[in-house]
């Protein structure tokens, strides 16, 4: 499903161009996505220097329009929306990265075991089917209702519903690799199961897994924002984008900027991650890329 990438790059005089530049011009989507993500990461890391205190109440500055002083306006407590959005980037990126890493790791372990040991497979996959039929956001809501809200709990609650999709992907790759002759050869020559899994099967899952991880990351960021928006996410004192938008709800008609700026940042972040994911998929699986 190549969207922006042109599968037939124009012939260029390759001799003058270095390899990196050629690679970059061939994979524009990845480059654009990575540049946006790099910029966002810088903003997230440098948040304390780029913006003021996101929690500072300034009752005299309630609901101010965007101006030179308050770039993104102020909210109903007179807090600077710009500094809240800048600090919110931290939460979104942390949640996205942590969920992607956790879900990929757990999904990989479960998926490899399922694909390799057929007896485990039958039971675990039934369980995964059941979990997949529960809408992710509701499963997360249930977990958060039962535990005290914290950023950690939010990450765990978003990770759990993401696992089954990763498991399915890994399992299908493992099953197809397992059927290949070199695995039989390895078994015949007495290679231990653990070595077969680590050395022969694991590397084959890497490419699809990396692509899947980007989508998990994007979906986690959206889910966190959705949960916070509903009041079941990151504790309200933490300025996450979802929390900022949630607070802006009441004053939407007179102060739409409270919602628009964090919403826009959210969309740009998710867009950038998806661009990287789409680009990586096209790069790693040229068969699909050429067909679309």
């Amino acid at each position: 499903m190549a969207i922006v990438a042109d599968p037939l790059p124009a012939p260029v005089s390759t001799r003058q161009r270095s390899g990196t530049i050629r690679w970059m011009s061939r994979h524009k989507t990845i480059v654009v996505g990575l540049v946006i993500l790099a910029a966002l990461s810088v903003v997230a890391i440098a948040a304390p220097w780029l913006a003021g205190d996101p929690l500072q109440f300034e009752p005299t500055n309630r609901l101010k329009k965007p101006s030179a002083e308050f770039w993104f306006g102020t909210d109903q407590f007179g807090r600077d929306v710009y500094s809240r959005v800048v600090h919110g980037a931290r939460i979104s990126l942390i949640v996205g990265l942590c969920v992607a890493a956790l879900a990929t790791f757990l999904g990989l372990v479960i998926g490899v075991l399922c694909g390799y040991y057929r007896r485990v497979d039958a039971i675990v996959m039934r369980f995964m089917d059941g979990m997949m039929s529960i809408p992710a956001i509701l499963l997360a809501i249930a977990l958060i209702t039962l535990m005290k809200a914290s950023l950690f709990i939010v990450i765990v609650a978003i990770t759990i519903p993401e696992i089954p999709r990763v498991v399915r992907l890994v399992r299908s790759v493992v099953l197809s690799v397992r059927a290949r002759p070199f695995i039989d050869a390895a078994i015949a020559s007495g290679t231990r199961n653990s070595v077969i899994m680590m050395r022969h099967i694991l590397p084959n899952t890497a490419a699809p897994l990396i692509v899947q991880a980007t989508y998990v990351c994007a979906s986690a960021i959206l889910t966190e924002a959705g949960l916070s928006f509903l009041g079941a996410g990151t504790p309200p004192e933490i300025p996450s984008w979802g929390n900022v938008i949630s607070l802006g709800r009441t004053f939407f008609q007179i102060a739409p900027w409270i919602i628009f700026f964090p919403g826009l940042c959210l969309a740009i972040t998710v867009l950038a991650i998806n661009l990287v994911g789409d680009g990586l998929r096209d790069m790693l699986d040229p068969r699909i890329a050429r067909r679309m």
């Binding site: 969207i3 089917d129 059941g130 249930a142 509903l230 739409p256 628009f260 826009l264 998710v270």
Partner: protein
């Protein structure tokens, strides 16, 4: 064909059993005392005890499980902690708006996205194709609430064409319902449309390169005939599959969309339950939503037989 349907039907039982098991053990395996968490920080020990009794947490676990399964089989989803009303009653009160929203969104998404995908595939690599693909990339990235508030801002606040928020029940006339549901359905349908348009395009592109399409063209079938009768019908299975996959997105989206547009449906019920930590309601809604998703996927499996005669055997 009957065996196919029967087999699909039987396959839903273990899935729903897992959902029920999962929801039950969620309450028991979460670290800490769920009764204390649900009661909140300022609760007295007596209040926590009351909630523990209401959830049945004071009884042995096998007895709780037996009762829970027995109730589920009778269609009893439990009782709300705070209003003391059966969850089923609460659901019935809130069902109409959510159902109308879901049906409207599905209709809007399918009616708009399939022609978009067909057009993009037919005119591959043209400006139309790029616009459709650009839209589908955006549709995945823009969160439901941003689309929702943007639509409200433009069409309700600036242009004043449609109501800002709220829901008009069908009993007051379908015109009012349609007016109140248009913006929510568009907002919620955005991601769904992106998904369907993308897969329609991909699936059509694949079919359009087949020999029988060339044959149909060569024997003089009109373009519309080739696209719809020859190509779209053969491209239908992946499209219908993705409509089923997208139904999960729809359910999560309903909860958020109803909050944006102040629609008193199941989504609002969920949010109110979150704020009060009314776990039985959330538990009941999970089972209900999962069941509806399983049902939709069952219908989709059955619909394959309409598109692909090979499956009927």
């Amino acid at each position: 064909m009957t065996t196919y349907i029967l087999r699909r039907l039987l396959a839903t039982i273990p899935v729903m059993a897992v959902v029920a098991l999962f929801v039950f053990f969620l309450l028991h395996l979460t670290p800490g005392d769920p009764a204390a968490v649900i009661a909140g920080d300022d609760a007295s020990p007596a209040e926590i005890d009351g909630i523990r009794k209401k959830l049945g947490l004071d009884r042995p676990i096998w007895e709780q499980f037996g009762l829970y399964v027995w109730n589920l089989l009778r269609g009893d989803l439990g009782t709300s902690i705070f209003s003391n009303l059966p969850v089923m009653t609460l659901v019935k009160q809130r069902l109409e708006p959510s159902l109308v929203l879901a049906v409207a969104t599905l209709t809007v998404a399918v009616v708009l996205a399939i022609p978009m995908g067909v057009l993009a595939a037919w005119k591959a690599r043209s400006t139309i194709d790029r616009v459709v693909m650009g839209f589908s990339v955006l549709g995945f990235a823009v969160p439901v609430f941003l689309v929702g508030y943007l639509l409200i801002y433009v069409f309700a606040i600036q242009l004043r064409w449609l109501p800002v928020q709220g829901y008009q029940p069908l009993a007051n006339g379908i015109g009012g319902t349609l007016r109140s549901i248009t913006l929510p359905a568009l907002a919620l349908g955005m991601t769904y449309m992106a998904l369907i348009a993308r897969i329609t395009r991909a699936s059509m592109l694949e079919v359009l390169s087949e020999d029988y399409i060339r044959t149909a063209r060569a024997k003089g079938v009109a373009t519309s005939g080739v696209l719809l009768r020859h190509a779209l019908k053969n491209a239908a299975v992946p499209i219908v599959t993705v409509i089923g996959i997208g139904f999960a997105l729809l359910i999560s989206g309903v909860v958020i969309t109803e909050t944006v547009f102040n629609i008193p449906g199941l989504g609002r019920l969920t949010v109110d339950a979150i704020l009060k930590r009314d776990y039985p309601i959330i538990q009941g809604l999970i089972i209900l939503f999962a069941a509806s998703k399983v049902l939709v996927n069952l219908l989709i499996d059955i619909s394959y037989t309409l598109f692909d005669p090979r499956i009927r055997q």
